[in-house]
Amino acid sequence: MPLAVIRASAGSGKTFQLAVSFIRILLKGELEGIPRNPAAILATTFTRAAAGEILDRVLRLLSEAALSDERRENLAKQIGTPLSPQHCHRLLANLAAHMDRLAISTMDAFFAQIAKAFASGLGLAPDWTMAVDEGEEELLRETLHAILGREDLQSVAEALWTFRRGVVSSMLGALADLAPNLDRTIAANEPPAAFARPEVRRWSQDELATATKTLAASADWIPRTKAGTAVKLWEDALDKMRAALTAGEEATALLEVPLTLRIFHDADYSKHPIPSALADAVKPLLARACDALQRRHTAREAALCWLAHHYKNHRREAAFRAGAYTFGDVAAMVTAAALQCDDLYFRLGTRFEHVLFDEFQDTSRLQFHFFHPIIEEIGGGGGEVLVVGDEKQAIYGWRGGDRELMHGPLDDLGKQIGSTAARILSESFRSSRAVLNAVNRTFQSLAGEWLDEKHPDKQPIEAAGREWAATFPEHKPATDVEKLRGRVRVILAPAGEGADAQDKNRALITKTLEFVRAHLAEDAHRKIGILLRKKNLMPQLIAEIRRAHPEVDVSGEGGNPLTDSRAIEVILCLLAWLDHPGSTAARHLVLASPLAAAFGFSAAVRAENPVSADERHALRFLRRELLERGFAATLRKWIRHPAFSAAGSDHDVQRCEQLLDVAREFDARGPMRPSDFAAHVRKRRIERPGGSGVRVMTIHASKGLEFEAVILLELDAAQGGRGDVILSEPGQPPRIVPSKKDAPFLGMEEIVGAQVSADFMEELSVLYVGMTRARSFLDIILREGSKAPLAILLRCALQVDADRVVEEFDGLSMRECDEAKGRGGLKLDQPDPGMADASAPRSTKVIAAFAARAGHATPTGRSEGGMVNVTKILVPANRAAMRRGELIHAWLRQISWIEEGLPDAATLVKSTADLTTELSRAERANLAKRLIGEALKSGTELHRALTKPARANGEENILWRERAFAVLRESEKRLEVLSGSFDRVVLWRDAKGNALRAEIVDFKTDRFSSAEDRTQIEARYAPQLAAYRDALSVLCPDLDQRCITASLVFVSA
């Protein structure tokens, strides 16, 4: 059966299951004698770490099975077929051969890969890259600026104001808030027309006439008490109604009056039936008000559509211009395109035959749609489809994750391609039985009734609870953790009379601090996770825990920003100041700190002094360093300065190292303003190596983590606050879920009810994830008297009326427990590969066949010291001179001795026809003529150089012209290759062939105006001539170095 589903509860080892399934698929092929291509198994998950872990698991399970009988038997049991060492070997070899192609990746990376392959067709920018961090923000900014820069700004404003039901001070801010929703909204492709805000429906005098009269005569029909006085509540209600029903008032104001809803439902109000006079008078108006509300609601949906359409277009254009896309953009573009499986496989270079999904509950509808044809094809072709997920942990609904996929769609799929019964994993390898008991009690109690009769949402919430609990299996500890000690407490944080939100938070924090103190008193090294519902209490909590326990490392979600080190703050302020000289506060901080010296500020540059030339100079120097050397090199120089080690703490030093990591990452992205870098560092959270003792984070961020002790807070925090919920289905216009208050008047109670259910199910999942992070200890802090459903549920399920321990189990500590089961993995009788000794005995004297790297030098290079001559590099006039030099050298090479005759000018010019040159043919001919003239004219240097010297008897001279050389020599105790070419060498030998002496001539075409000038030029070339002499003496080892002369010959032509 192709489709298999594993419902894996928290801590039940789902990575292990995935790895086993991966191996099973491969093994099946092996057993059938048709080895399978491991790259044809697509396995997707949600984080890169998880993807890496799955692969590691597969490799290790098989490797350990190959080496240990016990492990192999275990694995065989899991797989359900016998497994021989040879099988393991073959599978490993097969995996190793395909290592680069294994399709184990995150969903994001998979879509990015597709987007790369289809960039041209999908309309992604050529050479696009992934937008991360600032890139992502910049993209949003560009998009919003483009929307606000539209010609029809009026429409933008109207649409936005319609959606927001009022004018906003910052359209930019409002759009930015709305952006995630716009991103998720599926908009029409057709450009919508201009948007106009609908008129506000207001009452006119006329239409109110009847109602006004009736209300004025309320004394006639108002319900009365037994004593005969008008019921107070009714009087108030009628006052409100009168106010709502005045001419010029918005029609929808009527719907805000509590009495109206009772009229609408023909129900009693405060135990008195609605007088018919009132009902008759109000009902017609009520219908109109409903109509107005309906119009407003429809207009909001239209506004959303309008905005979403333009947002998407502008976003695509902005991304195309920037050549950068976020993972979200990429996924949206890929899932929106109807790609053919065949085309996909062809472009990716792999045809998928099996597919494994991890964390399926977090998959979105769109992603599912994308995978549907692939799954169908795989299922149809006999491939396997494994879905691992846990709807209990579906906490990403707000990000598009769709828990429903685990049910209907998956069932349908099963019917279509055939499926085996789902496996349910409920054995926890993580938590102590105390924790699991509390989990079981909490979620099993959802089956019954637990909410007060009067709770306004009793029905949808309890129904949601039952639905959620329907798939809840009883959790049991695996043998690994059977003996793990544990304790679960529920604590009620008191909120005194008239306490406001701040007081209540205060109470929570106080309680939390109390429990942290208690935990640390029990064990100073206990790893504690404080998990919250939202982020707003985090800074305060972190600050206070730090103050109370300075010895413990406390960090927030994903670690703190590096600015938790003061040294880093000083560096960042310097960077900001470099960019913004007006930031005198930053200047003060930098110059007043003992680190100032590290940045190169002299002692005279002080915070309290006015800005000096010294200071400006130092700043400019720093700016240039950053520009040319990049952040990493410059920051490293600062950090290694003694001032840092003198003033900074260990913590500062460690954080500075991490700053260097960030700097390196940024250098690779190209130049960037220092203040932008600083801003990034401030935002980015970076964990300190080794992790913290106490970590404060949201429950969402804790997914995938575990802690010895968990403190859960704010479970009763009012959820929502995420603004409007928008439902967006492919092929349908988006719908806005109305407020509970508006729902009946819009006839949309069902949708709202469904939303209440969906929200509560997600709440339950959040609670589940939070509770199951704990290994041994779980403390749940609730606000006293909280009416939030989760709080009620916990109080009811765990029977809490006051602070108490609800579960306790005395057993092994976490450390003892882990040691007992040997979490360390297979011990191999081989040395730790990381520690291998690479300098094992070998011939200590290396080399022989090798030479150490030699330096490289050229004679011309030797004369290139001094200053950079910018004019010489840039101005082409000098290049004409160079060309002239090149030509003259080329021609002189053709002349041996004047006595042996000179070529004519035409021959010379012709010989260098293929030399590129700025000189015209006529100029060249002229130059050649002049050169010949100079050579022939006695008295010139050139003439002398080219005239055959007299020879003594038996002597012979050899002439080298333009002879290249490369010699190896020792210079300053190291090897150096000296290579170049002699212009002209005359070598004298005696009759026996012994070298006698040599003359080296180097032609120069420099112009000079005075003897002084010439001396200077000669001095510059002196090292060059020395190099020629050196080279020649290596080439002719028998020649006495003193017999080598070298001279410059200036050619003036």
Partner: protein, 928 residues
């Protein structure tokens, strides 16, 4: 002829010895070893240098005088076999021609190649992709039509779908060739094809390929034009002959199968890039103890992202190291300057330059003479006007705007570049900046400058060879960007360092035969390198065309790693580092290269060791105090005398912040605003209402809201036009609608006030009101200053001191001045206004008697219901407020104040937070 040289020793010395030995001595008299007729082809730059050294050494050992051969890398084979040809288009001409071709072709056709949303925004990018694709494809010796017919063979199904795209590509290629033709140039591949088809190389030329294991088809054709059979040196024993073809190229399937074994001792599993650096340092220290010098050690770095961390780590261990990669010219100040100038010149339709480009230029360190300290002034300008494009029109004399306008004028004349004089103008611009730079050639900055300017010059030379009119088709900004792109590809070598360990890219390092080699990042994707990703050339197509592909890269890297190890096992040192994470910190996969030879239990053991997280000891850290923030200076406090009425609120909130902000007058500045922040938003409303007030001073106002609204909207428009103009950031334009909405709320309430008979008696003046504020028992010379938004008078003798409030929610004076529960003072502003009243001088209807005055807010939040005049501040609290103020002043002037940190808002500038010692606490306002 193939010559096999065993891989148990390094290749180049063996080749050199052999070449020298076989070089005939012309006569017994001559000791010359004349190799000048030879052309030696090697794999990389370091092989080029090493081979020359090896030849020199071999010659000297043999006692012969070497005339060196030409040694080239395979890429320049055509110019080495045949003379170079001036009519061949260089990199720049090719790039330009593609850009022009893409511009010329109609958008529909471009759309067939690449779907482009919203116009031609990405066309420059497309040209660069096509340029690259074509250069890759052309080495296979086919054009797009040819490639398509191959594609159709491997994927007949998608052929139909793809046909249009490839036809269009071919069409563009023809256009590109036509453009080059117009410029009198030819495409280099066309030249190679022509040479291969029609020319013969000189009969004297001898060619040797040395360890060149990859050669594209195109170059093989070129080599066939050489009459003498090339000598092919292969670094492998003869027994491996099947692994190479007749040209010495690797046979990928052979190498995919051949086991290449690396021992456990050679492999070092480490955690991440920092640990790679640390392990390198450890190894080098050990090796040096065994007698090696830095010059004998090379580190191969397949992941270029790791270089910086490796260099840093080695420097920390005091090991001298040098990167062979050199400095990319694109990183130099000079090229960054040109890139910024390009942004400055990017002005579609003659629009003014963007603020960002001007701000970048103002910050460029080499432009100080032109910027003359404009950075701070630009920040100020930015925050005042929020410009998208910057264009101060008719600035007031002496104003900041005028200074900015002058700066712009200087910039414009500096950055004037004309298409027709492109090269001259760019040269002039660079000369102007750099002519007077006095930098030693040998310094880092000197080398960077020299390298950058030489690269620019070389690229400009190419520009100059193009016909003038060819440049007219592209905007100057585009030309400049292409100049920067091409010149930026140049690498400026680091100076040689005698004893430094050398870091080089993988293939470079592999061809460097230093006795000791560390290969870093032996993980999948780095080594072996991943498949080349070209959007238009799929791997299967590349493989079919004989271009580098996944299979060929694997073969190449496997063979190469094998030879570098084999040749060092006997007499050298080798270490392979296998990190668990890539240089980017992502989980890494074990390299196939380390798994290939293993089987059975060996493979299992190897995999376990490669997937085991190495133990890195955690150093426990104690959060020691470290740095302390600066303390307030009592002297400064004692000298402080003038207090603004609004500053008391700041002092009450945070005395320490007050010290830095009000006494030291420190400030924060940036240019990151995207729209009017609440401050300037309020300022805009204040400014408009001030004008409105002036217009209606002491007059019976009209009570028609519509008329008032119309009036203030005119003021608003004028204000927005004056302050922000047409080139402001788009969100500002949108905000003027929100401002208008607030003003219409104002109009409604103001009309009611007029109707009630209130008159405007006084409005805010430019100058602050200053009054003496003697402190009983303290300093007598203290002054109080402030401005009053507005004072209203009613004919029945009542007065109102009015403060406009533009925050999003309305608030009453009592709520603003007292803590909600504590009842403590939060602010003293309104009661202190009373002290300022005498300074107003004569007001019609005045003087204002302080018992008849009500201190009120005029709330102007977006919601109409919350707007309007508030109830008055409790009159009995006024004298108490004065006392409180005196108390605060006394505390400060005694030098005892300003210690307490109090409450500082999270969104305060980080420098202020740090000054108050509050840094490090994460501020969490983000959404989850």
């Amino acid at each position: 002829m193939r010559v096999f040289l065993p891989w148990t020793s390094p290749l180049l010395p063996a080749v050199a010895a052999r070449m020298i030995a076989e070089c005939p001595a012309e006569s017994s008299f001559s000791r010359d070893a004349d190799l000048s007729g030879w052309l030696l082809v090697v794999r990389g730059g370091s092989a080029q240098r090493r081979l020359l050294a090896a030849l020199a050494m071999a010659a000297q050992r043999a006692g012969r005088a070497l005339i060196p051969p030409r040694i080239v890398m395979q890429g320049s084979l055509d110019d080495a076999i045949f003379a170079s040809d001036a009519s061949v288009a260089g990199l720049l001409a090719q790039r330009l021609a593609w850009t022009v071709a893409v511009q010329r072709v109609e958008p529909e056709r471009i759309g067939k190649i690449w779907t482009m949303p919203g116009g031609r925004g990405g066309i420059a990018n497309l040209a660069s992709v096509l340029d690259r694709t074509w250069r890759a494809l052309s080495t296979a010796g086919v054009d797009f039509t040819g490639a398509f017919s191959e594609l159709a063979k491997i994927a007949p199904d998608s052929a139909e779908f793809e046909q249009e795209r490839w036809d269009s590509l071919q069409y563009l290629l023809d256009e590109y060739r036509a453009v080059l033709g117009e410029w009198g140039l030819t495409d280099p591949s066309a030249r190679r094809a022509r040479l291969a088809a029609t020319s013969r190389a000189s009969a004297e030329l001898r060619v040797a390929l040395i360890g060149v294991v990859e050669l594209p088809p195109e170059l093989i054709l070129l080599l066939r034009t050489v009459p003498a059979k090339p000598l092919i040196f292969i670094h492998a024993p003869e027994s491996e002959a099947d692994g190479f073809d007749e040209w010495g190229r690797l046979d990928a399937p052979f190498w995919a199968k051949r086991p290449c074994r690396f021992s456990d001792g050679e492999i070092h599993v480490v955690r991440g890039v920092r640990e790679q650096a640390a392990r390198c340092a450890d190894l080098i220290r050990d090796w040096k103890k065994a007698g090696l010098t830095g010059a004998g050690i090379t580190i191969a770095v397949p992941e270029s992202a790791a270089i910086s961390a490796l260099l840093g780590g080695l420097a920390d261990a005091h090991i001298e190291a040098r990167s062979a990669e050199g400095l990319s010219a694109s990183r130099t100040a000079a090229l960054q300057l040109l890139a910024q100038v390009a942004d400055f010149l990017d002005r579609p339709g003659g629009a003014p330059p963007t603020y960002t480009s001007v701000a970048a230029l103002a910050r460029h360190p080499d432009l100080a003479a032109i910027a003359r300290g404009s950075t701070g002034r630009l920040d100020e300008y930015f925050n005042a006007h929020l410009p998208l494009r910057i264009d101060p029109e008719q600035p007031a004399p002496g104003s900041n705007e005028e200074r900015i306008a002058e700066f712009l004028t200087r910039l414009k004349s500096f950055a004037e570049i004309r298409n027709a004089h492109f090269s001259d103008d760019v040269t002039r611009l660079l000369l102007r900046i750099y002519k007077h730079h006095q930098l030693p050639r040998a310094s880092d900055a000197g080398r960077a400058l020299h390298g950058a300017l030489s690269a620019v010059r070389a690229t400009l030379d190419e520009f100059e060879r193009l016909p003038r009119q060819s440049l007219a088709e592209l905007p100057v900004a585009e030309l400049l960007r292409i100049l920067v792109e091409i010149a930026g590809q140049t690498e400026i070598p680091e100076p040689e360092q005698p004893d430094a360990v050398e870091l080089a890219g993988w293939l470079e390092a592999a061809s460097d035969d230093a006795p000791a080699l560390i290969v870093t990042s032996v993980v999948e994707g780095a080594l072996p390198e991943g498949a080349p990703a070209e959007p238009l050339l799929l791997d299967s197509l590349r493989e079919r065309l004989g271009l580098p592909c996944r299979a060929s890269r694997f073969a190449r890297d496997k063979y190469t790693l094998h030879t570098v190890c084999m040749s060092r096992r006997e007499h050298g040192r080798i270490a392979l580092l296998a990190p668990r994470r890539t240089a980017e910190g992502l989980p890494a996969r074990p390299s196939r290269l380390l798994l290939g030879a293993q089987d059975g239990n060996d493979l299992a053991r190897r995999l376990i060791s490669l997937t085991t997280e190495p133990h890195t000891p955690n150093v426990p850290i104690h959060a020691a105090a470290g740095l302390v923030p600066p303390e307030p200076d009592p002297e400064k406090m004692r000298a402080f005398r003038t207090f603004s009425v609004t500053s008391f609120r700041s002092y009450i909130r945070s005395p320490r912040l007050f010290y830095f902000k009000n006494i030291l007058r420190l400030g924060a500045q940036d240019d990151s605003a995207d729209e009017l922040e609440p401050g300037p938003f309020g300022t805009a409303i204040h400014a408009v209402l001030q004008r409105f007030g002036e217009h209606h001073l002491n007059a019976q106002g009209v009570d028609d809201p519509a008329a008032i609204e119309a009036e203030v909207k005119i003021f608003l428009d004028e204000y927005m036009q004056r302050e922000f103009g047409p080139h402001a950031l788009p969100p500002v334009r949108a905000q003027s609608r929100a401002l208008a909405a607030r003003l219409s709320v104002f109009a409604k309430h103001q009309a009611a006030l007029f109707a009630e008979g209130w008159q405007i008696a006084s409005v805010e003046k430019k100058r602050s009101l200053v009054v003496p504020f003697p402190i009983p028992g303290g300093p007598q010379d203290v002054k109080l200053k402030g401005r009053i938004d507005r004072i209203d008078w009613h004919p029945d003798g009542k007065w109102r001191v009015i403060d406009y409030k533009t925050s999003s929610q309305g608030v009453t004076p009592d709520k603003a001045h007292f803590g909600a529960r504590s009842g403590e003072w939060k602010d003293l502003q309104l009661p202190l206004y009373v002290k300022l009243l005498p300074e107003l001088g004569d007001i019609p209807g005045g003087p204002i008697s302080s018992d008849a005055v009500a201190l009120v807010y005029f709330n102007l939040p977006p919601k109409d219901e919350d707007a309007g005049i508030t109830e008055a501040f409790s009159a009995e609290k006024i004298p108490v407020a004065w006392e409180k103020a005196q108390q605060i002043v006394a505390e400060i002037c005694s030098g005892a104040g300003c210690r307490e940190i109090g409450e500082v808002a999270d969104n305060e500038d980080p420098a202020f937070l740090a000054l108050c010692g509050l840094n490090g606490l994460p501020t969490t306002t983000e959404e989850d």
